[in-house]
């Protein structure tokens, strides 16, 4: 087996867009985005599991989660620690807001350079932005090879990793030298549950901002003594780089317009099979972008 590794897992906090039940719907039939719970992006869980398996094989391997988002995204880091990660970093700064995938990748890549890992594992795709672009873009910014749609790490020897990838119509086994960036797909093994010991250990892990916002309590004292309970927050000051590479300024794509999809007709409409009825229905579906 190989020497112990340092692994960074990229994880994003996302609104749970996959479970838009009729309860998360507004009067007008559109989704109430604010009503969706914030969750650990599903494929990032698959990514974490692959990292944990490597740690099982190569004891002493260190797993750090890296997430960019607002203060509450620290939940993602805690969740990862409960499942076996060793810690994590919250990338957060007003300058990073409004980023498209390129500006997001730039921030993540700058932070990764500072951590200097042997392996970076991301999810294939986030369920809100839905682009699957961040992984390959981070790899390019770090000048590293990339292996997308990974389903399983098959081997890790002599500084080379062997991975099975899932393609639309089959599988491919590839090998790459380390360091490399891997994106993991949903057909990979699900993540193991929280571990009771880890949960006890990291229950009170906090960022400094969370502590400052919280009511004064006894944990503050304990925290001073236990460094591992401090989740670091990095901003522009910590990761440096070109200021206008971040956030809105660093984003070549601009959102010109957003339309909410009307998901639900207000009541059941009964139609006949006449040409007019069918034509009317199809035109409505196209106009609302339900089809087309």
């Amino acid at each position: 087996m190989d020497k112990k590794l340092k692994i960074v897992v990229l994880a994003k906090q996302v609104p749970d867009t996959r479970n838009v039940g009729k309860d998360a719907m507004k009067e007008d039939g559109t989704v109430n985005r604010a009503a969706l719970p914030a969750i650990f992006n599903p494929e990032d869980m698959n990514a974490l599991e692959q990292a944990l398996r490597i740690k099982d094989l190569i004891p002493g391997t260190e797993i750090q989660l890296l997430t960019m988002g607002p203060g509450r995204a620290a939940d993602v880091i805690r969740e990862g620690m409960f499942r076996g990660a060793d810690g994590g970093i919250l990338l957060t700064d007003r300058k990073f807001a409004g980023a498209d995938t390129l500006a997001t990748s730039y921030a993540l890549a700058q932070a990764i350079k500072k951590i200097n890992p042997d392996l970076i594992i991301a999810g294939r795709q986030a369920i809100d932005g839905d682009t699957a672009q961040v992984g390959p873009q981070v790899a390019e910014k770090l000048d590293l090879p990339q292996i997308t749609y990974a389903e399983e790490v098959l081997g890790l020897e002599n500084g080379r990793i062997t991975i099975r990838r899932r393609l639309e119509r089959g599988v491919e086994v590839v090998a790459s030298p380390l360091p490399v960036l891997v994106t993991v797909t949903a057909s990979a093994a699900p993540c193991r549950p929280r571990n009771a010991k880890q949960l006890m250990k990291y229950k009170h892990a906090r960022t400094l901002s969370e502590d400052q916002q919280a009511e004064p309590n006894t944990y503050a004292v304990a925290l001073d003594q236990r460094e591992y309970l401090r989740i670091p927050e990095w901003g522009y000051a910590e990761i440096g780089g070109e200021e206008n590479g971040y956030g809105l300024a660093g984003s070549p794509t601009k959102v010109k317009k957003i339309e909410n999809i009307i998901l639900q007709a207000k009541e059941s409409k009964v139609l006949s099979g006449s040409d007019e009825d069918i034509n009317g229905l199809i035109q409505e579906l196209i106009a609302s972008h339900t089809i087309g």
Partner: protein
């Protein structure tokens, strides 16, 4: 210079449908912009495919043909694409949203710092104004996001090329009546590739039959016992194909041997919650509806006005599916762009 370049993907020695669909779309865009269409073809022994690309309007086929390029690998393909875009400065570059396109395009966009929009369902040319400036003839890249709950129009005002990916089956594919007089421009592969570009090695490849995945489908056309026969299910496949969806079924249809069990929806099948569920000849028993009643929109087609499926539908069509499905296909073809 400043033309449209379509990355043309191959599969087993043939051009992929998605690439020809993009070529077809590129003709509309090129007409609006008064520019030409060029194709980028990377692979091994793929030269003969250029003729087919002329039939779709390619004035120039940039060809990178080398044994090292037989199968897609990110680094060499990206190096070639980046070098070509730097040289040719296209204003627009289109890729299929396939496992290849979605691996390659983001890498290229990062190297060129040009914006990339994923999974567009519509591409148009239009103007744009922001606080500082007015822009003429930008590519409107229209795409669903947020799990299909919103549609965003994205533009790329300053950086070039404007890059987009599009899924297979979203755009129409249509060859020209008379091919354009195009030509091949070979790319000097060995001048571009470095040893490090070949670091990732393919050890094994197995290409399988397409797996049925109705769970991931945004649109499902499901048939029941009322479809009547295996042959008649073709109607549903036709509708699903034009809408870009998948076909599902009730247990009665599966039990009758009309269709594969992998497509069964309900308590003893899969649970789905697509954006649109079109139910055809299904009565709507609870064991079935348990697997689909959370769909965002339901259209039911059943000739029995009292069928329970009509009660949970947003649109209930009372009539014969054999007449209604062909009408839907026809109407969709007339109304979609």
């Amino acid at each position: 210079m400043n033309n449209i370049i379509v990355y043309c993907e191959t599969d087993n020695g043939k051009l992929c449908d998605v690439s020809l669909e993009l070529m077809t779309k590129a003709r509309d865009l090129a007409a609006a912009l008064s520019c030409d269409i060029e194709a980028l073809l990377i692979g091994h022994n793929v030269k003969s495919l250029a003729d087919e690309l002329y039939q779709y309007g390619a004035k120039v086929v940039h060809l990178a043909d080398d044994p090292k390029l037989e199968f897609f690998r990110t680094l060499p393909y990206a190096a070639i694409t980046i070098a070509l875009f730097r040289q040719e400065q296209p204003q627009i570059a289109l890729f299929g949203a396939t496992s290849v396109g979605r691996d390659l395009a983001p890498r290229v966009s990062s190297a060129l710092h040009s914006g990339l929009t994923a999974d567009c369902t519509c591409l148009e040319i239009g103007d744009h104004k922001d606080k500082e400036k007015e822009y003429k003839n930008l590519l409107y890249q229209i795409r669903p996001a947020f799990g299909g709950n919103i549609i965003a129009t994205i533009v790329n005002p300053e950086c070039r090329p404007q890059m987009a990916t599009v899924r297979e089956g979203v755009m129409k594919k249509e060859a020209l009546a008379t091919p354009v007089a195009g030509s091949i421009q070979p790319i000097e592969v060995n001048n571009i590739l470095k040893d490090t570009d070949l670091a990732v090695e393919i050890i094994e490849r197995h290409i399988e039959e397409r797996k049925i995945d109705i769970k991931g489908a945004q649109i499902i056309v499901a048939g029941g016992f009322g479809v009547g026969s295996k042959e008649n299910f073709q109607l549903l496949f036709d509708l699903a194909k034009v809408l870009g969806g998948e076909v599902g079924a009730s247990r009665a249809a599966v039990d009758a041997g009309f269709i594969d069990h992998a497509r069964q929806i309900g308590q003893t099948g899969v649970t789905v919650r697509p954006k649109l569920f079109i139910s055809c000849g299904i009565s709507g028993q609870i064991q079935h509806t348990a697997g689909m009643d959370q769909s965002a929109m339901i259209i039911s087609i059943n000739n029995d006005p009292d069928a329970p499926i009509h009660k949970i539908a947003d649109y209930a069509i009372v009539g014969d599916l054999n007449e209604i499905i062909p009408k839907m296909i026809k109407s969709y073809k007339q109304n979609s762009k």
